[in-house]
């Protein structure tokens, strides 16, 4: 389909390993968001891209978290030296334009489990 695609759907890693999560937004969408959703909670904002520019990374929990969108389309969220508290669902969303009153189209997320 033409929706937001995230891969992998499930990722299991040992504590201390690095992981990379991929997001393919809807083609042509300018805005891209990453969220972290813990079990039983709502999504928490991590970072925002407008095209290739990362305009807000205030939600990234530590310097172990890094996100990029080098060509303004596909985005990758990387977590280095993973810890158990990083276990969560990571959601990506894209919007067609900038501005806050825009619909966010979410992917189905990557469920990350750190052992």
């Amino acid at each position: 389909g033409a929706g937001v695609s995230q891969s992998p759907r499930y990722k299991v890693a040992k504590r201390g390993q690095d992981v990379a999560l991929r997001c393919d937004p809807i083609s042509g969408h300018v805005s891209l968001f990453w969220y972290q959703q813990a079990l039983g909670q709502g999504p928490e904002f991590l970072t925002y891209f407008q095209n290739e520019a990362q305009l807000d990374k205030s939600g990234l929990p530590s310097d172990r978290f890094f996100a990029e969108r080098p060509e303004g389309s596909v985005s990758t969220l990387k977590i280095q030296r993973t810890q158990q508290e990083d276990s969560a669902v990571y959601l990506c969303a894209s919007s067609p334009r900038t501005g806050v009153v825009q619909p966010q189209h979410f992917g189905d997320g990557t469920r990350l489990s750190i052992l």
Partner: protein
């Protein structure tokens, strides 16, 4: 820091009943979105409200934005099992790209 509260946290009702869920904050919002999320899936946008006092209807769902733009409600008439899910409100404030999601109301409609 904006404090956002959704209530109730959990709701289990019989098919055909009516219900209302709430989203409240200490801050004034510039707009607010409601989403529904089903297990294993991402949230899906239901509605965006922008104007204080605004009421929007989507079939059996009625959304209201408070006059002071600090709160919102979602009313479902004659609930159906297909309405089961996590209902999330996500307000925004002017000058920011961020959507702050509430913890949600988990609704279960029993057949």
């Amino acid at each position: 820091t904006q404090l956002l509260e959704q209530s109730p946290q959990f709701l289990s009702i019989q098919e055909g009943e009516n219900l209302t869920v709430y989203c409240n904050s200490s801050s004034v919002f510039s707009s607010l979105q409601w989403y529904r999320q089903e297990p294993g899936e991402g949230p899906v946008l239901l509605v965006t409200v922008v104007t204080g006092g605004e009421v929007k209807k989507l079939k059996r769902l009625t959304f209201q934005f408070g006059d002071a733009r600090k709160d919102s409600s979602l009313h479902i008439t004659a609930a159906q099992p297909g309405d089961t899910g996590l209902y999330l409100c996500a307000p925004t404030t002017s000058g920011t790209y961020k959507y702050i999601f509430g913890t949600g109301t988990r609704l279960k409609v029993l057949a």
